[in-house]
Amino acid sequence: MTHPLASLRKSLACAHPAAASETIALGAPALDRRLGGGILRAALHEAYAGTAADAPAATGFALALARRAMAGKQKPLLWVRQEALSTEAGAPYPPGLADIDIDPAAVAFIRVRDAKEALQAGAEAGRCATVGATLIELFGAARAYDLTASRRLALAAAAAGAPIFIVRAGAAPAPSAAASRWLVRALPSRPRAANAPGSAAFAIFLLRQRGGAAGHAWRVEWNRDRGAFKDRTFDAPSLSRPVASLSVGGAPDEVAPQTAGRKFG
């Protein structure tokens, strides 16, 4: 007779196959070490925009993660977006996607009216094993995105073995079934010749990571040519803001719900 604990372990191993622990490396060694190899592939991840004006940065960060997830796989990206976001922050521009190394031809874009529809479309897409990654952009308070909805998405991602990214602008971070939760802000880029703006850069703060360390801030740059993040946390301080400005407590308070929807900047 086998030991009950052993059989329990065995059944747990069946329920969570090895693939469940497969990770997506961000490409920056220091980050990946800290994250334990990267973010989980078959899981739900959230990126919150620090303020409403950081929405493009949050989406850009999630797109870069999706790009990492899809590397080497001939699978499409499914991008679900609430229509209100396009009047607020502009509509996705395919040449700009190509500029951060996402092939626009490999993207299917779904425009929906509200958060409820966005989550339905996202769950439908996330469940599909032929999708490389799913990106869902929600705008504002989005009450439809609750614990149950996030759990549903997490299960869909686990079943399909592909990540689902939720990007939220104008909302305060809330508990959910996400495997990781990030707070993203725009970061001044490394200037090019003649003080020209450089590659996309993000100040990211890991609010939560399931079974791992959280509460860590980095400054990263997206290197399109390598298709990887580059850690810039310890660059010359004159080029970027101090890390201390990314305090955990301060961040959600800054997102006043009534003003978040209207104001940029």
């Binding site: 509509a91 996705p92 425009r111 439908e124 001044p188 900047g265």
Partner: protein, 474 residues
């Protein structure tokens, strides 16, 4: 005010259509009157026509208050012409409609026999025998024609049929004579059905009205299997499908869905049906039950037999096409999109959003590859139309030092430009002369990156150029 239509009781009182309302009220003071509503009448007839589509797919309206059913190839399903006529009349009676019906070889003969005769069925080729005794009113000719005919002593169609048609045509016109030949079955005419014939159609009739909505897929699945079987024999796949539910009380619900590529996949079609049914504003309601459930393939295209399993990529593409179809069925085709590249230097027109279901993928090579080592030159998000901003620049043709957008001031830390983009003058109508745009990539002190432009060349095109924010970088 005149009387438009009367019921049986009123006719029994001696009232006739066309009479003034005052006259009628004088004769029958207790007369119940309602305003005539031609549009509502037509809607009712269209609903009845939809109901009658369960007997034959070819149904046409026969104004003002008739329906024409093409029973070709359908009558034997009901046990012959007479049995089908009785069946239709019984079904109508269940909906509390009384009616007159006749079966004949030509539509005109059937109409004349139903309205002016007592014959129930006139076998094809024998219309003349049955139509001859009909009064000349069956011609439904203008009043002066019927008066003239009566004065000439011609009272039945038989009388007319015996005369030389050349003389009658000369006297009463082409139209009346054509009508006569059609009623007599000497000339045939086709009806124009309300809906065109589907590519293939399968249905299930129930002895007892079908009530259990939860078991609806058990009915639909064999129907879809049968329909896809028919398509498979033809080497085709369906693009547009329709499930029709004929309710006992005459209401007809129809549910239509489309696929991006020709399909014979039963499970995928069922999934689409489910999604469509879930997204209905007023859900499918069986009421007192469905009499008939029908599944039609409205559009079909050639679909070769494929060997799934040999080509993994194909199977994957197929799955993705399925997903796109499902999303399109749920959210509408206009919401499920793909990006298509356009060959133009105008940033506004460089990319188009296209229906994903219609164009499964665009060639990957059509997007320009970014230059290695360069930062992103195009924004991730584009505003349409561009957003006006207030700027302050050091020199009239230099980048702004700061700008104000949505009441917030952005102090510029880095800038690059201008990238001069001339308008596509050949696209614009005469008069509206578009201006050259000078684009700048800007970054403010908080690290937000913007794509702005100045419209119009300073001094040569305009004295006070305006600034716009066109896009946001990640």
């Amino acid at each position: 005010m005149r009387i438009d239509a009367l019921d049986r009781k009123a006719i029994a009182l001696g009232l006739t259509p066309g009479m003034t309302l005052a006259d009628a009220k004088a004769r029958a003071p207790h007369l119940a009157v309602a305003q005539a509503d031609a549009a509502a009448d037509e809607r009712l007839m269209l609903r009845l026509a939809a109901f009658c589509e369960q007997f034959t797919p070819l149904v046409a309206l026969d104004p003002p208050c008739g329906l024409m059913l093409d029973a070709t190839g359908c009558a034997h399903l009901f046990g012959g012409d007479a049995a089908m006529r009785a069946y239709v009349l019984r079904a109508m009676a269940r909906l509390t409609f009384s009616g007159r019906a006749a079966v004949a070889g030509t539509p005109d003969a059937a109409r004349a026999l139903a309205r002016f005769g007592e014959t129930a069925v006139a076998p094809p080729g024998e219309e003349e025998v049955f139509a001859r005794p009909l009064s000349i009113a069956a011609l439904e000719a203008p009043r002066e024609t019927s008066v003239a005919l009566t004065r000439a002593g011609l009272t039945t169609l038989g009388d007319l049929a015996d005369r030389s048609s050349a003389a009658l045509t000369a006297r009463f016109g082409d139209e009346t004579m054509r009508r006569l030949t059609r009623i007599l079955g000497r000339e045939d005419a086709r009806i124009t059905p309300l809906r065109s014939l589907p590519e293939c159609m399968v249905e299930r009739r129930f002895a007892e009205p079908f009530l259990d909505l939860s078991a609806i897929e058990n009915v639909l699945r064999p129907l879809i299997v049968e329909a896809t079987g028919i398509l498979e024999k033809r080497g085709e796949g369906g693009r547009a499908f329709e499930a029709r539910f004929f309710r006992t009380d005459g209401a007809v619900a129809s549910l239509r869905f489309e696929t991006g590529a020709p399909s014979r996949n039963v499970e995928a079609l069922l999934r689409l049906f489910r999604l469509k049914a879930d997204s209905l504003a007023d859900p499918l309601d069986p009421g007192y039950g469905f009499d008939v459930i029908r599944f039609c393939v409205l559009n079909a295209e050639t679909l070769a037999q494929s060997q799934i399993g040999f080509e993994r990529q194909d199977a994957q593409d197929g799955d993705f096409a399925d997903l796109v179809d499902r999303l399109a069925a749920r959210f509408g085709r206009e919401c499920v999109l793909r990006f298509a590249a356009r060959d133009t230097h105008d940033p506004m027109r460089a990319a188009a959003y296209v229906d994903a279901a219609a164009s499964p993928s665009s060639p990957p090579s059509s997007w320009p590859k970014p230059e290695p080592g360069e930062p992103p030159l195009r924004p991730l998000f584009l505003f349409d139309p561009p957003q006006p901003i207030e700027t302050m620049a050091e020199t009239p043709d230099g980048p702004p030092m700061h700008f104000k957008w949505r009441r917030v001031r952005h102090l510029i830390a880095r800038a690059e430009g201008p990238e001069r983009i001339a308008p596509e003058w050949w696209r614009n109508a005469a008069g509206a002369r578009p201006r050259t745009r000078d684009y700048y990539r800007l970054e403010d002190r908080d690290g937000r990156r913007f794509w702005v432009f100045r419209e119009g060349l300073y001094e040569s095109e305009t004295a006070a150029p305006r600034w716009f924010l066109h896009g946001l970088f990640a």
